[in-house]
């Protein structure tokens, strides 16, 4: 192997230019032009009107809430699994919790339709108990549920990976220095697991902001999120310019969010070097 063999990388460089860079450039070009192909800020102007702002805020809000719920539900799961003494049991539980990640995303979302629908399982059960039926499907609660359900494993896995790596001696040392189990958790274990939490938050928040499948299947027509807006503009309304602008805005928000998270993570990074 020598430097001449760098040419092996060139075909992919060409591929990246055409299929990764160019599309992003085109997305930018489309956002800043109008139907006639002239430069214009029209798309952004119309995006920043109350209706669309509301959609954007709603997307961010639901993604945020679902991230928080995933964290509250997922951290204990990761913690409990990491604390299981037998390696075999631990791996089995871990596998069970991340197995859903390999199941088709659509199917997982769809499965809730069966449960929540007007004549779905839950309402059937309610009926059998002669309780009033509930409108469970096609509202933002259902969207939230779908998000939590789909993305929970993405929170559990990175937190678990960090927790399992933390040297057990830190907790032992804290106990030795007089910390009770609760203090040990709050002051040692949890702070050391923050990088995993940050990865988990990123892995839940990002897809939750951009999803259009979940609101489209579980949210019904009224609960439009930014993902739906983009999909609608491109596939139905045929307004690619506006759709591109919306994509660009969403992408920018996500990149900024990730940057903030990374900054937060950097201070933790050097700490983690000691754990490695």
């Amino acid at each position: 192997m020598n430097k001449n063999m760098r040419v092996l990388g060139l075909p992919y460089v060409a591929w990246m230019l055409i299929f990764i860079c160019l599309p992003i450039v085109l997305l930018g070009v489309y956002s800043f032009t109008n139907n006639t192909g002239n430069f214009s800020l029209e798309n952004f102007k119309s995006f920043f009107t109350p209706i669309y702002i509301q959609i954007l805020l709603n997307s961010l809000y639901l993604a945020f809430i679902s991230t928080v719920i995933c964290f509250i539900l997922g951290y204990p799961v990761a913690y409990i699994i990491a604390k299981i003494p037998s390696e075999k049991t631990r791996n089995t539980f871990l596998l069970l919790f991340i197995l859903p990640m390999w199941m088709n995303f659509l199917l997982r979302t769809y499965s809730w339709m069966t449960l929540l629908g007007n004549n779905g399982l839950i309402n059937t059960l309610l009926q059998a108990l002669s309780l009033p039926q509930l409108n469970l499907l096609y509202n933002s609660g259902a969207v939230l549920l779908g998000m939590v359900y789909n993305f929970l494993p993405f929170m559990i896995y990175p937190i678990y990976s960090i927790l399992i790596k933390i040297d057990a001696n830190y907790a032992i040392a804290a106990g030795d220095l007089g910390a009770n189990p609760r203090q040990t958790f709050m002051k040692i274990t949890f702070p050391l697991s923050i990088p995993g939490v940050i990865t988990g938050i990123t892995m839940v928040f990002m897809p939750a902001v951009s999803t259009f499948v979940i609101p489209s299947l579980l949210g019904g027509g009224q609960n439009m999120l930014i993902g739906n807006l983009i999909e609608q503009q491109l596939m139905q309304a045929g307004n690619w310019h506006f759709g591109s602008a919306a994509s660009l805005i969403m992408m920018t928000i996500i990149l900024i969010a990730m940057q903030v998270m990374n900054r937060f993570d950097k201070t933790q990074q050097k700490n983690m070097e000691m754990l490695a």
């Binding site: 063999m5 092996l8 990388g9 992919y12 390999w102 088709n104 659509l106 259009f212």
Partner: protein
């Protein structure tokens, strides 16, 4: 007591994760079309499924795209990794950053931007565009799996091979490939699962007449619940579970032989 509580929590969460899927699987055998009641056991929906030419075509495209995208992206990704590996720090970093874009970009942005690209290049959307899109989002994962193995590789190995008279190409085929094989396999599995599971990017890059299973499920589900989707879901879930089981078994066997964890 505390331990019991922890276990209860784990099982409740598992119930939350698996109950919907199990209910869906059970319903796929329900004779009654309205899911209100249990109308007895039936395989009717499976029969209809296999008769449905749309589903057959969707299955065909799903598998075909997955296989082609996996093969192409594994080969291209591996070769490119070697090329990238040989570049200096700065160029390498730049290449990897671009390579990373499809990984961190939301699927919908990747899908939309490629859709615009194909329009720009006046390509009619269909099988070819979908395949290109799949290859584009699979290669980065192959590279991310292979490159670390190249970095871990002992440089002395290459020097030893040169010393023993191997030509550059022979070094790659006889030494390097063997060393990075685990990374290639990981990349290949990554590519396959991503491709076979993809919905969003396929949705934006395919054209009329060509859909994969995910797209098909989506379009049916938008119209409401139907027992055929339940049957299809059951089959897809069983396939994935079986596949994972086989991979796991294979890994376990390897573990026993080599005595190390993979």
């Amino acid at each position: 007591m505390k331990k019991a509580l922890r276990n209860v929590y784990l099982y409740i969460m598992l119930l939350f994760l698996y109950a919907p899927i199990l209910v869906l699987m059970v319903y796929s055998f329900n004779a009654s079309k309205s899911r209100g009641q249990w109308g007895g056991f039936t395989l009717e929906w499976y029969r209809r499924l296999f008769m449905d030419s749309n589903i057959q075509s969707a299955l065909y495209y799903t598998v075909l795209v997955a296989i082609l995208a996996t093969i192409i992206s594994t080969i291209v990704g591996t070769i490119s990794s070697i090329g990238i590996f040989l570049y200096g720090n700065r160029v390498q970093k730049l290449m990897l950053n671009v390579n990373y874009i499809p990984v961190i970009n939301p699927d919908i942005v990747t899908g939309v931007s490629m859709m615009i690209l194909f329009a720009f290049m006046s390509m009619r959307q269909g099988f070819a565009t979908m395949l290109i899109a799949h290859i584009t989002f699979c290669i980065p994962y192959v590279i991310l799996s292979v490159l670390p193995k190249l970095r871990q590789m002992d440089v002395n190995l290459i020097e030893a091979a040169m010393d023993l008279g191997a030509r550059p190409m022979q070094i790659i085929t006889k030494v390097v490939l063997a060393e990075i094989k685990p990374g290639i396999v990981t990349g290949l599995l990554f590519a396959f699962t991503l491709s076979i599971d993809d919905f969003v990017i396929s949705f934006f890059t395919t054209g009329s007449g060509v859909s994969n299973l995910s797209i098909y499920v989506y379009s049916m589900a938008k119209r409401g619940i139907s027992p055929e989707i339940n049957a299809l879901s059951t089959l897809m879930i069983l396939t994935v579970t079986l596949l994972l089981f086989v991979i796991n078994k294979r890994n376990n066997k390897k573990t026993k032989i080599t005595g190390e964890r993979i």
